[in-house]
């Protein structure tokens, strides 16, 4: 009996069986994939998707945590925000801080990486040492630097007094507080971009350097015409990532200045903290968060266009 079936419609039957087997396999694979994804998607939907949607929704309400009823305002919160001087000042401070810190830490990191990429003794030691501050928490860094920058007894002013510079009120002067916070942050965070630059430098084939040297290129020419162009993808990555993280400035000014003097070191996130957790205005706070997100996305896109245009492998 089995014989007749096989001889009768052998190709069609096998084909059909194969196809059914494949469909089954694909269905099983899909099913397996969904099982693998399930735990992740559960948390992703609950805390990310729902979180973003709820924040957008809340930004249209007068959402006082302490009151049971929330009044719908439409674009009222955004309207208030546009006319809010502290918001604009916070945004300005944050942008100044982010640009200073990204530029400063990228330069220090690049310098350190270039030095560590040379065949010097103890480069392993220096790499470990220079990365060390990146491991510290904001609490430690803030506590340390508040004291180092102390006007009367701080070691920074002590070092400067040898150069005849009178005591500077770093954290109490509204013109100096952002540079002082930026300096602290550069000390704290330049290690990560340094490691990335180092990896980027080690990825440049030595062949290029040898060829340039044979052609009689000076070290300066080698740096500007070989190293820097080939490092562009890393530079783009370091600056974009640094910008995103420094636009979220909160810990340093929360610990070191509490936004002061006056509003001179208010950052957007610090203002968000004040609005949502000191004044309990969760709706207005959501509007701040969403506007900040929009600004970060726009600036990231701009950076990609400006630096990314020239990135080629």
């Amino acid at each position: 009996m089995s014989n007749t079936i096989v001889t009768g419609s052998a190709p069609a039957a096998t084909q059909q069986a194969t196809r059914r087997f494949q469909i089954n396999l694909r269905r099983r694979e899909s099913l397996a994939a969904y099982v693998f994804l399930l735990p992740f998607m559960f948390f992703f939907c609950l805390f990310v998707v729902r979180g973003v949607a709820a924040a957008v929704n809340m930004s249209f309400y007068d959402w006082d945590v302490l009151s049971p009823v929330h009044k719908y305002l439409g674009l009222g919160n955004y309207n208030e925000l546009i006319n809010d001087d502290i918001w604009w000042l916070s945004l300005k401070n944050t942008l100044i801080f982010a640009v200073m810190t990204v530029a400063g830490s990228s330069l220090v990191a690049l310098g350190a990486a270039l030095a560590l990429n040379q065949p010097v003794r103890g480069r392993g030691f220096f790499r470990v040492l220079l990365y060390a501050p990146s491991l510290l928490s904001a609490g430690v860094v803030g506590t340390t630097w508040v004291w180092l920058l102390n006007t009367q007894f701080g070691i920074v002013n002590y070092a400067l007094h040898f150069f005849g510079i009178p005591a500077i009120n770093w954290l109490g002067d509204s013109n100096l507080v952002l540079p002082a916070l930026s300096l602290t942050t550069i000390w704290w965070t330049f290690g990560f971009p340094m490691l990335l630059f180092l990896a980027g430098l080690q990825g440049i084939p030595t062949l290029f350097y040898e060829a340039a040297r044979i052609d009689g290129a000076s070290p300066r020419q080698i740096f500007f015409y070989i190293t820097l162009p080939l490092l562009r993808p890393t530079i783009l990555f370091v600056t974009v990532l640094g910008f995103i993280s420094h636009m979220q400035l909160f810990s340093q000014n929360f610990i070191m200045t509490t936004g002061g003097p006056g509003y001179a070191s208010y950052s957007v996130i610090y203002y968000l903290y004040q609005i949502a957790w000191k004044s309990f205005r969760m709706g207005y706070g959501s509007a701040v968060a969403i506007l900040l997100a929009a600004i970060i996305v726009i600036f990231t896109a701009l950076q990609f266009i400006l630096i990314g245009r020239r990135v080629q492998y």
Binding site: A132, V146, Y158
Partner: protein
């Protein structure tokens, strides 16, 4: 002719590295030595860099005040960060496996949505997630520090990159042997990505350990604070009058980290570089 020049070039390199190293190390050495001073020695001009008569009074205060629960805070930090890291790896590795090795409907769309959320700063979800924690009665508990960040998109992205580099043939051999999907994931993919998993563990743990904003708002009760939060709040209460205590607390928070670092420096630096470069 070129030899002395080469040496001078190297000399300037050494000077540059030495200055940079000194600037990095100096603040840490200074707070260590100044935490061993009393108030009057600390508040003198010129600043005292070393003390000949170390005073452990600040460290005694550190462990005798009821509002200073540094041991508890360190435990909270370590416990929360370790749990968080385990949770992230447990749920993100299978997801990364699905995205890198399995075919299913909606795979590309789903992955695109995931990537899009990377650009959105985490602050957007702060307020809704805080209210959710409150409604779930998770405030002032370790739960609040673990679950909201459990769906770590960066971890999925990173592991997917690594899983995709593993040759397909290895899995095909296992399929012929009748290995299940889970078996392939558990016995082939995971062991072959131990480097990536170690790197990610370090990266995720450190990131969580050093976070300040979220633990500050969800765990405000003294005994549920993490170490960074405890230290940050101390600045307002001990900043004026008892500076040595504050410095001692900073030293207390620094020593475990630097100790771990000195043992695993190579792994940590490799891990950070690996995750950073893969993110690029």
């Amino acid at each position: 002719m070129t030899l002395p020049l080469f040496r001078i070039k190297n000399l300037s390199l050494y000077v540059f590295l030495a200055i940079l190293g000194l600037l990095v190390a100096m603040p840490l050495v200074l707070i260590l030595s100044q935490s061993l001073m009393d108030n009057t020695t600390l508040y003198t001009w010129p600043p005292q860099v070393v003390t000949l008569a170390p005073n452990f009074g600040s460290y005694q205060t550190l462990f005798s005040q009821p509002d200073l629960q540094l041991g508890r805070w360190l435990f909270n930090s370590l416990f929360a960060s370790a749990s968080y890291t385990v949770v992230v790896l447990t749920i993100c590795a299978p997801a990364a496996y699905a995205f890198s090795r399995l075919q299913f409907r909606g795979r590309n769309v789903l992955f695109f949505i995931l990537l899009a959320t990377i650009i959105i700063p985490s602050q957007v979800t702060l307020i809704p997630n805080y209210l959710l924690m409150r409604d779930l009665h998770f405030l002032n508990s370790i739960n609040a520090l673990i679950w909201p960040g459990a769906a770590n998109v960066f971890a999925v992205f990173l592991l997917r990159q690594f899983f995709m580099q593993i040759p397909q043939e290895l899995e095909e051999a296992a399929i012929l042997d009748g290995c299940s999907y889970f078996g392939r994931f558990w016995k082939i993919i995971l062991p072959l990505s131990s480097n990536a998993l170690t790197a990610l563990t370090i990266f995720v743990f450190l990131g969580h350990y050093n976070d300040l904003f979220w633990p500050l708002i969800v765990n405000s009760r003294v005994d549920m604070r993490t170490l960074p939060v405890g230290l940050a709040i101390l600045n307002s209460s001990y900043g004026g009058s008892e500076r040595p205590v504050l410095l001692a607390a900073a030293v207390f928070a620094t020593v475990p980290i630097l100790l771990v670092y000195s043992f695993f420096q190579r792994k940590i630096i490799q891990g950070v570089t690996l995750t950073g470069m893969a993110g690029r």
